[in-house]
Every structure is written in structure tokens, then in C-alpha cells.
Symmetry: C2
Subunit: 244 residues, 2 copies
Amino acid sequence: MVETQPNVETDPCGDLLDHVRRGRPAAGQDPVKRSQIIEGARRVFIDKGFEAASMNDITREASVSKGTIYVYFANKEELFEALIEEERGTIFKNMYDVLDNADDLRETLVKFGKVLALKITSAKVIQAQRTVIGASDRIPELGARFYERGPKRGHDKVAAFLDAAIERGLLRIDDVDLAAYQFTELCLAGLFRQCIFAYRTKAPGQDEIDHIVRSGVGMFLKTYGTENLAAEESHQTIAIEARP
Amino acid sequence: MVETQPNVETDPCGDLLDHVRRGRPAAGQDPVKRSQIIEGARRVFIDKGFEAASMNDITREASVSKGTIYVYFANKEELFEALIEEERGTIFKNMYDVLDNADDLRETLVKFGKVLALKITSAKVIQAQRTVIGASDRIPELGARFYERGPKRGHDKVAAFLDAAIERGLLRIDDVDLAAYQFTELCLAGLFRQCIFAYRTKAPGQDEIDHIVRSGVGMFLKTYGTENLAAEESHQTIAIEARP
DNA sequence: GTGCAATCGAACCGATTGGTTCGAATTATT
DNA sequence: AATAATTCGAACCAATCGGTTCGATTGCAC
């Protein structure tokens, strides 16, 4: 009984209704309908951008009446934010699982780098990012929030992974934060900007990504890896005799 | 005489008037007025995006009548393209001059990297890029053209510079194209995405850029530099190497 | 001065915008 | 079947959109 008639007064999902909660008990609790609206909004927003998209388009695309949409979302901007929030979730979901498995450092980095590059440059994700970036000019908080809960969170995971590797004596890094950025950028070398500016019309293929990532990881390990370090240091003792 | 009455029939700047050239002699030849329009367009487009910007805003901002604007530019899109073309020009102008001076390899790379990072992440340029990216969803050719005549051209210059360094025996690179991308990305490590998503509200400072670039250049030279190579090779001959 | 091209400025076009309202229709609970 | 909640769908709002037109005004060249 409780389930059939959603209890609005004690609804845990309150943050969705802050604006609606007035005299009338708020409708807009059906998650199915909500998804339906967002799905329509996705199609429209993603391929027209925030400004060019019209609520009427979304109405049409979602097969939901305009009035209903305004029951679920206060206005266009709020609907857009909800969409982006969901997109962000699906984009970055499970992306960092590879990092939990830490057999071989090099292969783990390669595996993760490939997943990263593949995701970030996929047509769908690029379109979504374009939409967010375009809107960030007028709604900076939206872009910031997207970055914070998406790329930033991923960056932190990478940094944590590097920290663990340092702990294990596999890496030697002075600025872990910077190193994490460097690793990420090396995996995307050139791809992100090419894609985001529509210079590339198609997402890069597996083979190309593999080539880039392996090269990047090589570069990364050559700088921060401790593998060759012992040898390298023993080597430098020839030149630097000042050591006790 | 010729100057006061621009000769429309043999006008060299024909591509601007293709749409106007009908019965009436085309106006819209005054470069000053043209700049005036574009300057107004810049302010409006940059801070509202393509869709949200209105021709009336531009009219107001440029202090030019609407009719006149349409004498100079066929429509909104064409005006926007002209603006972007100009922006692109000013952004990338002189950016690569540093590469012509090739005293010390490391310092040249550092110097260039700093210029690059400083430009790309400056508030003005970030805003412009956001506008282009946002519009690239609907007008992909525009983004592609921007990239092609901007970042791409720069990338080619970097690659050429690396080629020259290889020629001089200072670098050893198998995939120069990739290396050029890697270098660029290392110089921007994290900055570009943070800025473009408005996660950073301010452009990075000189000190931060210096730190990033020096680290990146170090990484780059450690991988591709021939400085330590001789020593390293004599060392590695023990362990390696199936590669030609 | 005279003439003429360029610009102005305002009105106008049809279409569309985000947003609101409300009675009718639908749906499910009891 | 009765009841209550929810959604629908259409009409409506003032505002704005890009784009066009045209007569009045300006300013420069002769």
C-alpha cells in the first residue's frame, strides 16, 4: 500500500521536489516516466545543444505532455542538469574497475589507458561532452560539477593507484597529482581535441588507441618506473663520484 | 575615385558578396565597418554561444543597423564563421615563433611549451574554444576548419621541429607525429580539460605552468632524447632487444 | 551644391520560444 | 462502481527569433 501510493511527505528523494513542494502534493514520482522524459531530453539536447533544444521537441521526442514534464522538472535548465547528471553516471561507470586489479603494473596501465581512451573518444561521449562544454559558458557550475564528479573523480582514482604502486616500490614519483594527469593525457594524445573539435568524424579504432596507449605507458614508466632505476643509478655513479 | 566607389564587378573579395551580387551594386566593402560588426559579434557570440546570441544583440553591441550587417554578411552563420576565422588567426599568431630559435633543445621546448599552455588556457581563448566546440555539434565543418587551421597547423610545426632535432641527432623518435601530440599534451597536462569544463575558474598561473611544462619536457627528453642514450644503450645491450 | 551610394532605423514577417493553466481523459486503488 | 491521483493535450501568454524591406538620412566625391 505504501508502495502504490508514494509517500510524498517523507519522500527520501526530496531534492528533486524542492521547488514543487507547495500546497499540492507533488506528482512526478514515477521513475519510469522520469526516465522516459530524460531519454527524450537526451536525444534532443545531445544533438541540438542546450539553447537550440526546445521543450516542445522534448515533449514530442519523449511522447510526454508538456505539463507532465513540468511536473517532474521545474524548468529547462533543471531538466538539462538531470540529464547531464545521468550521462555522467553512465559514462564513468565501471571505467576504473581495471585499476582494482593490480597484477602487472605495465599491463594494468595499458588496459586502463585503452578503456579510458575508448570511452572518452566514443561518438556518444564526445557529443555529450560537447553539449556540456557549450553550456558551460552560460552555466559554469554545470560544467564544473560534471568535471568534478566525472573526470576529477577518475583522476583521483588514478592518483590513488599510482600511490599504491609507489608503496609497492614500482614507481618513484615526486608529484603524483601531476603524474596522474600526465598519464591520462598521454593515453589521449591528440585524440580528445581532434574529436571534440569534430576534426575527426569517427572515433579512433582499437589499433590506433593501442598504439598510442602503449607508447604513452612506455614513456610514463621510463620516467617514473623503478625497473631500470637501479641499473641507471649504478650507472650514474661513474659520473657522480661525490657519493659517500 | 576608384576607391570611393568600390568596383563591384571586378571586386577581388568576391566571396563575401556572392549572395548579394544582384541588380544592385553591393555595399559592404568598408573594412572598418566590417571590423566593427565583427567586434560586436565577438562580444555577443563569445559570451552567449551561437544559438543564444541574437542578431539584435549584435546590432546593439556593434552600434550598426541590422540592415547593414546583412549587407556585410549573408546570415548569422556566415557572420559567426567570419568571427571564428578571425579569432583563430589572432590566437595562433606568432605562437610558434619560439620554435624557429633552436639554441638549446630543452630550453626551446620549455619556452614553447609555456607559451602554448599560457595561450590555450587563457580565459579569452578558452571562451572562444568553448563557443566553437558548442557549435561543432551543429556545424561540424566549422570545428574541423578551426582545428585544421589552428591546432593542426601548430601540431605540424611541432612535428617539423622534432624532425629537425632528429636530423641534428638530438632526438630519436620512431613516430614523430605521435611524439608531437605527446609533447603538446604533456605541456597541457590536465589544464585544458579543467579549463574547458569551467572546473577552473581562473587560468593557471605562470608558476604552475612552468612546473608542468618542465616536468613534461623532462619526460619527453627522457624518452626521446639522445643525451643519455649512449650510456643507456651500452647498459641495456645486456637485456635487449629484438627491435631493428 | 549636386548627386549618389552607403548606412540607418524602424517596422514588419511568420515562426517559435519557455512557461503556465486547466478541464478532460486515463489509470489504478479500494 | 466509486474515488482519487496523474497525465494528457491543447490553448494561451508575452517575448524573441532570424530575416527582409524600404524610406529617410548621412557623408563623401565631384
